[in-house]
């Protein structure tokens, strides 16, 4: 056994807990999880059945944690997990799964398959079986501090651009602020309008906020690749900054996995509860709007719909907030079929969009989103995750659909009452 395969198998053993043992014990091979999975449905290929993606982990569980399995292993009757098998499973675990969570919602015996995939990725990464592109992102996150190679000077440049546009100062390292604002690399690079929107909204609401020079990055590629130690380091930077600046609340940006990483996995990675709150920007906007601290005027006349980013909605619980906000600023808001916690994934989450090998599969899986949008008959799609935005723009372009994709924060600010 090579060193890396051994590390992988050890990682598999370490992550198996009571829930995972219960899930594997309960699976009756009914195949319903496949029907919930967009990768399976749009390709018709049974190998994309969610529970099947976990087969190597299941065998390790059986051989290590069940009496019969252990006996079988001793007697040489069981099939060991090999390096070749992990190679074969790599595209199943990383290319055809965005950790969207739909399978976990439908399994009749209650298996949280998504949770198991997240854990399995730990072993896949440790054994050297994570996709090259994700490994690159992880390396950059470790060495540079951002998976996309963003350093503070780049953020500064964006801040300057935004300040010139809004004439509002962007606070940096301001101690005692109410909110510490995080950004995802995607926003810093592709959507500077997010920061400018925040500046204007927070000014209007009269809340104090700040960025942190040593913790501006919310994207957590450790979660995507399955490297908890890396995930911990990224979260750790944020915790240190939040505590140093004594903020009450950390705001997670319009990015799906960033929210999962800081809100739900964060304290567990750090081994202690946070002394501050963590909210998604949509939660904050909804609170400010409900409390009357920001007001809107006018409504967007375009028929529009909302895409629920999986990590924010189904896996994060932020479902009603965007709808309340859109209710205030949209004249013709239409829900797509399966809207809410059962919405279909854009296909690019969980590292899939960073993985160029997965592109053809991702584009094929997009057909489900295409159908949802066509049914709704709109040309404007609103969402709250920068990755979903780009994945959907690519998908829409690929299928020659003329639909604009906009971020909710950006849309809100178009109708913000300012200066009164």
């Amino acid at each position: 056994m090579s060193a890396t395969l051994e590390k992988g198998l050890n990682a598999f053993k370490e992550v198996i807990d009571a829930p995972i043992a219960s899930y594997f014990s309960s699976c009756v091979h009914c195949g319903l999880c496949a029907e919930a999975c967009l990768f399976h449905n749009e390709t018709g290929d049974p190998k994309y059945t969610p529970i099947h993606k976990l087969e190597p982990l299941r065998r390790v569980w059986k051989q290590e944690y069940t009496l019969l399995g252990k006996l079988g292993k001793m007697l040489g009757l069981t099939k060991p997990v090999t390096d070749a098998e992990l190679t074969e499973w790599e595209p199943l675990v990383y290319d055809s799964c965005s950790m969207c969570g739909r399978c976990s919602m439908v399994c009749p015996v209650g298996n949280d398959i998504t949770y198991m995939i997240r854990k399995m990725r730990e072993g896949m990464a440790a054994s050297g079986h994570a996709p090259e592109d994700l490994v690159g992102a992880t390396t950059r996150a470790v060495t540079i501090g951002s998976p996309m190679g963003i350093k503070w000077p780049a953020v500064m440049a964006q801040i300057k651009h935004v300040q010139a546009e809004t004439h509002i100062e962007v606070p940096v390292d301001k101690e005692g602020a109410d909110y510490l604002v995080l950004m995802s690399s995607m926003e810093i690079i592709n959507f500077p309008e997010y920061l400018s929107a925040l500046s204007r909204i927070f000014k209007q609401a009269g809340v104090s906020w700040t960025l942190a020079q040593d913790a501006f990055e919310a994207t957590n590629s450790g979660i995507q690749i399955g490297a908890s130690d890396l995930a911990r380091e990224i979260v750790g930077r944020i915790v240190v900054a939040a505590e140093r600046l004594k903020v009450k609340c950390v705001i997670s940006p319009e990015c799906g996995h960033a929210f999962t990483a800081i809100r739900w996995e964060g304290p567990n990675l750090m081994g202690k509860p946070f002394g501050f709150e963590v909210k998604h920007i949509l939660e904050v906007l909804d609170e400010l709007h409900t409390a009357g601290r920001i007001k809107t005027r006018g409504k967007d006349k375009r028929p529009l719909t909302y895409h629920d980013p999986c990590q924010i909605s189904r896996r994060g619980g932020v479902v009603e907030q965007p709808r309340r906000l859109l209710g205030a600023i949209a004249e013709d808001f239409r829900e797509m079929p399966d809207a809410g916690v059962m919405n279909w994934c854009c296909g690019g989450g969980g590292g899939v969009s960073a993985n160029s090998r997965a592109e053809p599969l991702r584009l094929e899986a997009f057909k489900v989103k295409k159908r949802q949008i066509e049914t709704t008959d709109v040309h404007t799609l609103v969402t709250a995750c920068a990755n979903c935005r780009i994945v959907m723009e690519e998908g829409l372009e690929h299928y020659h659909m003329k639909v604009d994709v906009i971020g909710l924060t950006e849309l809100l600010v178009d109708y913000l009452v300012e200066g009164e």
């Binding site: 592109d133 994700l134 690159g136 992102a137 950059r140 998976p147 996309m148 190679g149 963003i150 000077p153 780049a154 440049a157 964006q158 300057k160 651009h161 010139a164 546009e165 004439h167 995802s184 690399s185 995607m186 690079i189 592709n190 500077p192 309008e193 994207t219 590629s221 995507q224 690019g348 590292g351 969009s353 960073a354 993985n355 920068a386 990755n387 780009i390 723009e393 690519e394 372009e397």
Partner: protein, 148 residues
Amino acid sequence: MTINNDSEFKAALNSLPGNRQRQLAARFAESVLVLSKDVRVKNAIEAARRNDITDDELDAAYKAAKKASVDSFTRCGKECDWNSQAGHFVAQAALACFEPGKSSAWESAMHARMARTSESIATGIGTDNAETTAQYRILDKYLAGEKA
């Protein structure tokens, strides 16, 4: 009248009718065209500048600019090449030429500035908001030309 700040700039732009906004947007995009290597973007901007463009040609130019824009997004997790990202914002500026609405020229100007900012991140040299001033002059010249 010379434009000296963004409030005047934005107000002047938004007061213009659609096809004038398109031509101005094209000029702003053209100012940063050097940052893009994508011929589709160049062609789209040239099309947007024309007075005599037909609706079909507009549509075709829009589609080309859209494809150029989507192709040049930096994907989540990929290493960011700020030079390429500058090209992306040029494509966005070109795209803004074709988006109907009251502020397509302003949108284009913002994207053009971001293209310059991206370039500045790549080179490490600051911009001193040079593009902003250049845009004021473009607008001044355009409005003066209109009157003539």
